[in-house]
Symmetry: C2
Subunit: 153 residues, 2 copies
């Protein structure tokens, strides 16, 4: 199931985005090869571990719940990780997810909008506070950002 | 918590060992680095996934239950694995765990006895059906056997 989405770097957040309900998302990789083993925390309330096959094997994905303590025990083992605050913001044509990165990616703010169809995606006109589009830029993929030492420039 | 145990290769299994209650044990590694991620199945009834830190980091170990289906989904992702049948057998001085390996290690039979103390371990006289002692032989460690393509010779 592939998502249709467009992604932009934000240079200046509007006031009402900054005030919106914020959720802290943390995601780390315990392994990327031969299987991807990822842990996730949503707002320090929901925690899970996912094992995914990579490469040409038959696709496998298994998700297991973690307790908060188990997540915190495992978090330091994740060499590649992302720590960000997400807020949702209504825009014309959809809902924007604004991710403000922390840690080694501090300073990076990315906004993403998902669409129901390719037509909706191309029809979308980004508001003025959206900056450069990075939808096709591989440096802004989740796994790439997790492994990066600083924001892409 | 280190175990005190002695390990031997078996050349000829006695009849009563072959008849004992057998348990199938499968163990596979989804990752060995930077964290060890291991899955285990005991007799196709109990299944679990364990994440362990390796190296000099503070020691972390988290074990999560798996359903039988989750285990079977993940099993093909384990590049290094062990599949063996274990039977227990009373011997003078303790209980022997006899492991008959299957798959790429077929032909290998190992017997292991655990002891409460170093004194008990050195006092132990192996029965005649125990073959060469391999307690100190690194090729017979679990992780080494899981990665081996054939029985050590």
């Amino acid at each position: 199931m592939s998502e249709i989405e467009r992604k932009f770097v934000v240079s200046q957040l509007p006031e009402d985005v900054r005030g919106a309900r914020a959720v802290r998302l943390r995601q780390g990789y315990l392994s990327v090869e031969p299987a991807e083993v990822r842990i996730r925390s949503r707002d320090d309330r929901e925690h899970e571990l996912t094992v995914k096959s990579i490469g040409a094997l038959e696709r496998v994905e298994v998700t297991l719940p973690l307790t908060p303590d188990q997540f915190e025990d495992l978090w330091p083992l994740a060499r590649r990780s992302i720590d960000k605050i997400r807020t949702l913001h209504d825009v014309e044509g959809g809902t924007a997810e604004v991710d403000v990165y922390a840690g080694k990616l501090a300073g990076l703010v990315v906004v993403e909008v998902e669409f129901g169809s390719d037509a909706d995606a191309s029809r979308f006109t980004p508001p003025s506070w959206f900056g450069t589009e990075v939808t096709e830029d591989p440096r802004y993929r989740n796994a790439a950002l997790a492994g990066a030492e600083s924001p892409p420039t």
